[in-house]
Amino acid sequence: MTVTFPQKGLPWLLLLPQLLVTAIFFLWPAEQALEQAFYQEDAFGLSREFVGLENFIDLFTDPLYYQSMLTTLLFSFSVAIFGMSAALLLAVMADRVIRGKLAYQTLLIWPYAVAPALAGVLWWILFDPSMGPIALWLESAGVDWNHYLNGNQAMILVVIASTWKQISYNFLFFLAGLQAVPRSLIEAASIDGASPFKRFWTIVFPLLSPTTFFLLVVNLVYAFFETFGVIDATTKGGPGQSTTTLVYKVFEDGFIGLDLGGSAAQSVVLMGIVGLMTVIQFRFIERKVQYS
């Protein structure tokens, strides 16, 4: 549908609020970061010097940066895979619930409304080595839990905290996807002699693939870019570099290390990654399975 306006100015006026938000909170900072990435600035912001690609060269010759990249990949895929598996399991069970369906579904959606930092604090308390109930329980089970000292445990903690927050979102999409699978297909498969387990893997799961693929991209983007709050509240990127993801490293190098140029160069790399993921999402998300 095309709407034509008599005045030329009105459409721009209507677009203005969104354009302003985009300009002030995205375009301007992005431009600043892009510019900053080519400068070296002193810690007090009093002077700066054009250094060309030096910030980028430093970045890509720094083994810590590659380490952080690996950490990010491990973290992101763990969050996506655990979050999606758990959500799918819950959705399959919720789909079968007949009594109290609404209450069950509502409760499952709640974690999504919890702010990332709060979610972090929540899990930080639960896993605190000296007083957290889960940590104490683990200790009594013979696991020596201390995520301040053990990098792997720190990683497990941030994965759990980040996954927990994302399960609700995944759950909603999987539930909708499951409900869109025609009942008669399941019935036909049961007449065709497929066990419930086989029905799920050969009929339902393939039909969910558009949803699964969409969620994979969304979850990776979430784990890459939106888990700063969770990490900051639980491990602060430590111990050592063991939970320093790329986004956390931008913050750490820029605001704690005060290497503004290096941090800006990392931001530019991240912007490139976001752009790439967006393209992937738009290119492949249209792939749909036809229900007949």
């Binding site: 025609p182 008669s184 297909l185 019935e187 036909a188 498969a189 049961s190 007449i191 065709d192 002699g193 497929a194 086989k198 050969t202 009929i203 393939p206 039909l207 693939s209 399975v289 036809q290 229900y291 007949s292």
Partner: protein
């Protein structure tokens, strides 16, 4: 040999709704049984109970003498064709047809042999590598049938399989289904709301009304001797003319002005019926009653005349007459009709049973 037996089979839903009170039916091997009735009469529920997709609340279902109530759908050795075909959209036609065999652990070369054989029989050979989304409605219907046939089950179940097709294809597929069933000799239970489909396909018909089998019989038995006014009205197109009447010494009094002579020992209120094709146009002096014409439907091969009889008493009973060939009577004119006594149907008004 009796193949499928339903003994006092009933369905009560958890909310207490008594969908099917009790149905008795025994189906011979190779028989084509059609369950027909208006929507909501429980015909699909009954079929799904035979399939094992709905639990059986009362009574017993036996296939080849074996009790089936507690068996899973897969263990009943039945195959079903769904109204929306229920083809697996992500699988090719070949994979759709092979799925049931694969689940049963049939060796690969046998699967291939069976699928190619059935595909050949149904003219699907060219389509085996396509996905359901790339097929026309008629082709999907055929694949759904192929999927059922390839397993060579004891019983075929059809749930309104033709209702999504256009009129021409429906007639074609109807003939094809009947021929295939004859050739394979597989016992078949077929659900439809379309009485033409029911009449043309069935060896025996089960006319269902509100979860009860009103009548079970061959299509011609049911056409000639409907057991209740419901069956009389449901089978036959256009419907039988049914009029509330009274049997007295003089005969059947269908209105204050019209009494048709009949000697019958029954006295009291009845439903009197005659099919539109059995009414005969005649001259005034031999007529039983006059019909005031309200509408004429000319179909070429036949003409349907809608009108009312018994204008004088103000009762204005609607009546339809079916005449062979084209006719063009004037609207609002009168025609004279007789109702030959051998074509009457009389039902007790209270018990609704045929007299």
């Amino acid at each position: 040999m009796t193949d499928v037996v339903l003994e006092n089979v009933g369905k009560t839903y958890p909310n207490g709704y008594h969908a099917i009170p009790s149905v008795d039916l025994s189906i011979e091997e190779g028989e084509f049984i059609v369950l027909v009735g208006p929507s909501g009469c429980g015909k699909s529920t009954l079929l799904r109970m035979v399939a094992g997709l709905e639990s059986i609340s009362e009574g017993e279902l036996r296939i080849r003498g074996e009790r089936m109530n507690e068996k899973e759908p897969a263990e009943r050795d039945i195959a079903m064709v769904f109204q929306n075909y229920a083809l697996y959209p992500h699988m090719t036609v070949y994979a759709n047809m092979a799925y049931g065999l694969k689940n049963r652990g049939v060796p690969k070369n046998q699967i291939e042999e069976k699928v190619t054989h059935v595909a050949d029989m149904l003219g699907l050979t060219e389509l085996l590598q396509r996905k359901p989304g790339q097929l026309s409605g008629g082709q999907r219907q055929r694949v759904a049938m192929g999927r059922a046939m390839v397993r060579d089950p004891k019983v075929f179940l059809f749930d309104e399989p033709l209702s999504n097709l256009d009129a021409k294809l429906r007639v074609q597929m109807r003939v094809e289904i009947r021929q295939l069933q004859r050739k394979l000799g597989t016992t078949t239970l077929y659900v439809t709301h379309d009485q033409v489909e029911a009449m043309t396909l069935a060896d025996r018909l089960v006319v269902l009304n509100k979860g009860k089998a009103e009548q079970i019989g061959t299509p011609m038995d049911i056409y000639n001797q409907p057991a209740t006014p419901f069956v009389a009205a449901f089978i036959g197109s256009p419907s039988m003319n049914l009029i509330d009447a009274n049997v007295t010494e003089q005969g059947v009094k269908i209105s204050d002005a019209v009494t048709l002579p009949l000697s019958h020992e029954h006295r009291g209120e009845v439903v009197w019926g005659i099919r539109p094709e059995h009414l005969v146009v005649c001259d005034e002096k031999n007529a039983d009653f006059a019909l005031r014409i309200q509408a004429v439907e000319s179909l070429g091969a036949e003409t349907l005349i809608h009108g009312v009889i018994d204008e004088k008493s103000g009762k204005n009973e609607p009546m339809v007459v079916r005449l062979a060939g084209p006719h063009l009577p004037d609207i609002n004119s009168l025609i004279w009709l007789t109702a030959p006594v051998q074509h009457w149907h009389l039902f007790d008004a209270k018990t609704q049973q045929r007299l």
